[in-house]
């Protein structure tokens, strides 16, 4: 029923789709290999600011027209920027395929008009301030910077009020001309897609984009460990963040490492759940992997009462040492696999989720896997492989950052 199709335009733009004629809707996304790791420090936040400017008009459309047309197609659209990619996406009814591809394609060549640029700058600064008020109060940016050191993966996605305030449209255009080569972009689609038409429309709309070299350095990070305390007196809770080395997105043991994360740190039924959440020792606690090109990290987080923060830091270290020394059980692995299998089926039923899967897989450069092939890859993971992952990705040797009202917390021993 579902088929996978892929085509490369002459200028290097990849068009790829998971076509399911039974689907009620269609989803489309431009996936660009451009993120904060590609920025010079003085223009920190330019990838994310550019993501906003893409909706602010082109030589053919004003900002207002872009918004009006996205709504007139009944689209559910948005965009997101991360350390490595910027994704522009929209879901529509299948009858609007050509119109949405034309509209999204046009926005991918933005005008960056100075008056729009200055207005949008204020919006970005408000976004930065909004996150500054929210837990963990800039802790994520700080721990990424400390953990990755001078490696570009440690650079903030949003940038700072200073870098964003100082930015000019010319600097942004220069960045655009380094990253937005068609060879660095894929148009991914899923759902009820007419693929031949998609290729034809992409050719018409994107075929004239000029190709240039947009390679990036993917040198492996030299991870750092340590302990940092940020004092945030207005916070009522204490937040604990840890980053440990983890698999890159192309590492063979990524499936084993993800199951390890589920067993140790899922929000239900995991080792951390029983240690911290069931007893009310913490309000939230968990673990998740961040896989990048050539590097990777595993984040552990805990939110708890400040009075219990030191005790929780100590308990966390003990838990990490125990699980490494003794391994996990076959029963834990079996339950994690059942949970992941169920999650894959539920997620695969959403057209938009499939588009993200197709596009995100392209970002990694690995061969495409269907939802069932991904499920099979998890199912094939053995107990020794999970225990090897625990041995290799040393959760207990990490960068720890605490943020909140406590002033005297110390690294666990």
């Amino acid at each position: 029923m579902t088929s996978y199709r892929q085509h490369e335009l002459a200028n290097g733009l990849t068009v790829l789709a998971e076509c399911n004629p039974q689907a009620y809707t269609s989803a489309f996304g431009f996936f660009v290999k451009a993120g904060s790791r590609d920025e010079h420090k003085q223009i920190g936040g330019v990838s994310h600011f550019l993501e906003h400017m893409v909706f602010k008009g082109t030589p053919n459309r004003t900002a207002e027209q872009v918004n009006l047309e996205l709504d007139e197609l009944g689209s559910n659209s948005n965009a997101r920027t991360s350390e490595e990619s910027t994704i522009y996406h929209a879901a529509v009814l299948p009858e609007f395929q050509t119109q949405i591809v034309e509209l999204l394609s046009d926005t991918m060549r933005p005008s960056l008009r100075p008056e729009d640029f200055e207005t949008e700058k204020q919006v970005i600064i408000e976004e930065i301030k909004m996150y500054a008020d929210q837990p963990p109060y800039g802790g994520y940016e700080r721990i990424m910077e400390e953990f990755f050191g001078d490696h570009p993966l440690g650079q903030s996605v949003l940038g700072t009020t200073e870098t964003v305030s100082a930015m000019t449209p010319d600097q942004m255009m220069a960045y655009f001309q380094q990253r937005y080569s068609p060879s660095n972009i894929a148009l991914a689609a899923s759902g009820n897609i007419d693929f031949d038409l998609l290729v034809k429309d992409a050719e018409n709309c994107c075929g004239s984009w000029e190709r240039f070299d947009a390679s990036r350095s993917v040198q492996k990070a030299d991870y750092r460990s340590g302990f940092i305390s940020m004092h945030q007196p207005v916070s009522s809770q204490q937040y604990i963040l840890q980053l440990a080395p983890g698999p890159a997105f192309s590492d063979d043991d990524r499936f084993a490492a993800r199951l390890m994360n589920t067993i140790v740190g899922d929000d239900s039924g995991s080792r951390m759940y029983w240690e911290f959440l069931d007893s009310g020792a913490a309000e939230s606690a968990g673990m998740g992997g961040y896989e990048f090109d050539g590097s990777g990290s595993i984040m552990t987080f805990i939110c708890c009462d400040p009075d219990r923060a030191q005790e929780n830091l100590n308990r966390l270290l003990k838990l990490q040492r125990d699980v490494k020394a003794n391994g996990v059980t076959q029963r834990e692995l079996d339950l994690a696999k059942r949970k992941v299998a169920s999650h894959i089926v539920l997620a695969s039923e959403r057209t938009e989720t499939r588009m993200f899967s197709v596009g995100s897989q392209w970002l990694t450069g690995l061969p495409y896997l269907t939802a069932s092939e991904i499920a099979a890859a998890y199912d094939a993971v053995t107990l020794p492989q999970v225990n090897d992952a625990l041995e290799k990705w040393t959760l207990e040797t990490n960068m720890t950052l605490v943020v909140g009202p406590c002033e005297d917390l110390a690294a666990a021993v």
């Binding site: 918004n67 009944g74 529509v92 949008e120 301030k129 909004m130 008020d133 039924g269 039923e349």
Partner: protein, 419 residues
Amino acid sequence: MPQQQTILSHQFPNGLTLVAQSMPELESAAFSISIPAGCRYDPSDKRGLANFACEMLLRGSGDLTNRQFVEALEFNGVDHSSSVSVYNTNFGGAMLATHLHDTLRLFATMLLDPLFPADQLEDGRQVCLMEVASLEDELAQRAIMELRSRYYGDPDGRSSEGSFESLQSITMDDIRSFHQQHYRPDETIVSVAGKFDWDALRDHIGSLLGDWESKPAAAVELIEPTKQNYHIDFPSEQTHIAIAYPALPYRSEEYFLNRGSVGVLSDGLSSRLFTEVREKRGLCYTVSASYHSLRDRACVVCYSSTTKERAQETLDVLIEQLTRLGNGIEADELRRLQIQVRSSLIMQQESCRARASAIAGDWMHLGRVRTLDEISDKINGLTVESVNQFLAEHPPRDFVVVTLGAEALESHRDIVSAT
């Protein structure tokens, strides 16, 4: 619409309702169980009791301990959740369709035969206390919670978490007696969406919950809301602004006229608030208006956050736009809204979770499910004239404003006719 929507329902002799939407193209199923045991039934000195009872129910039932219960959910691959609202305590989950019956059995046993283990009481209390504490750091939520409390009064403007003091006073006897009194089949709605066999599902629910004994509903005393503006002083980077104004409840004949006018304010990138507050003036990152309904009362809640230097202007523009809505909408705005609603209704059809929740909500408010065709017809039937007549009769006014931030704002006298 993509296909004929099949809604099935059955009421058991004890009053319990099963309502379901068949989505045979899926491999999954989702369920929701809404029990009429919301926080409006918390005694005033035991606020947070419904939430604490919900937490304790999950800590073992029938033959299963706390740990065995969680493991059984994992074994069935259930992505589950629980929550307490003003009216209801809700349990829900999604999983492979083949595990639906086993999962429903686990939850039915939890409802009818909870262990309430004494050695888990303090752990459960800690979990509830943590929820209260962590809300302190959620500034937007704090502003909106205060707004609801001022708009709806007690108990319908409550949030379910309670306070440090009230949670400390709750005993296991309180929890048992809350369960005994308020967990009852009469107004309970079990909804299921996804792949299932209707006859087998109905029989299964009958065998699990058919013997559950019905009981009368408890009376609740309503206290008139203050509906006064309020400022929460807090040294934050941004000022959070929450505004409520009256709306008609979901069950009203005029609901779609009301909902349509809110859509013009806030649905989509070309909506008035997004255009005027964010796109033209760059005043904020977040701005929205959303419709909220209790059974017999409703309101529209607008929210935005911005740095304190620009907060007064943001509040002024918000009020100006809300007031301007009373002058009516344009044909283009209505046309865009109609396309968006059609599109989002169809997109919702891909998710069994969204449908299980939507049909339970409809049943609670209406005693039936509004089908997609019906909603589509109602929305397409809206005309500029009908919406504008509605707005002339019900213009946004009587605003209640709650702000949270480093400086209080000036609320214009003419915007606060309720005070």
